[in-house]
């Protein structure tokens, strides 16, 4: 696509989309939304980038190695937080029982492990969405 209007609008819109996605992930525990929706939003912003600027440029920005690390990393973060629960004399994925600080109700830094897990899910979902799209649209000959 070589449309200057589309390109400039995309350039303009994508930061806002991503910012909104990050906002949704970070505020997942105090407002509607969370890791899934925020991650999907970030993923779709990257899909939009791919649609407008092509796969090659998108893959330079978000290479295969990065996505591999992000995919494993998202779950490993989740597992690590869960295992901390065991280490801190609780059960797997314990929150209050393992002694994580819950913070003040309704503030951004509250909920113990919940925001951390939300971030892990968000990373995972975003990277999954974009990788799946790249793999699906890439032609055999490349």
């Amino acid at each position: 696509m070589n449309d200057i209007i589309v390109k400039s609008i995309t350039r303009l819109v994508i930061p806002f989309l991503q910012l909104y996605g990050i906002y949704i992930i970070l505020h997942g525990h105090i407002s509607p939304g969370g890791g899934f929706s925020g991650g999907a939003l970030i993923g779709s912003s990257l899909i939009l980038y791919t649609l407008v600027f092509g796969v090659d440029r998108a893959q330079k920005k978000f290479s295969h190695r990065v996505s591999e690390i992000a995919e494993s990393g998202g779950i490993l973060l989740y597992l690590f937080v869960g295992a901390l629960g065991i280490a801190l004399t609780g059960n797997f994925l314990s929150n209050k029982a393992a002694g994580f600080p819950l913070g003040e109700l309704g503030s951004l830094l509250s909920g113990g492990i919940i925001p951390v897990l939300m971030i892990g899910i968000g990373i995972k979902v975003a990277s999954t969405m974009i990788t799946l799209f790249h793999v699906l649209i890439q032609e055999e000959s490349q």
Binding site: P32, G33, S37, A40, S44, L136, I137
Partner: protein, 79 residues
């Protein structure tokens, strides 16, 4: 609110039937996207904003794009 609810339900059923009938897969995907979007509106009416947000982003957005990507690589018309 109940009127809106009933209208959306009827719309959803009609959209689902339209997806079933349409031979052009691209149109079917677009109807499917609208269907997902209406579904998320309906879920918003039923006071589940989290699910509505996720469905709008994943169901209507990502799924439709993936469908279109695959249709562009395969056939557009159902026989």
């Amino acid at each position: 609110m109940i009127v809106l609810n009933v209208m959306i339900v009827i719309f959803l059923i009609v959209a689902a039937l339209a997806i079933e009938r349409t031979k052009d897969l691209l149109s079917a995907v677009i109807i499917f996207s609208v269907y997902s979007l209406m579904m998320s509106v309906l879920w918003l009416i039923l006071k589940t904003p989290d699910v509505a947000l996720t469905e709008a982003a994943i169901g209507a957005g990502v799924t439709s794009i993936l469908f279109i990507a695959v249709i562009s690589r395969t056939q557009r018309y159902e026989k």
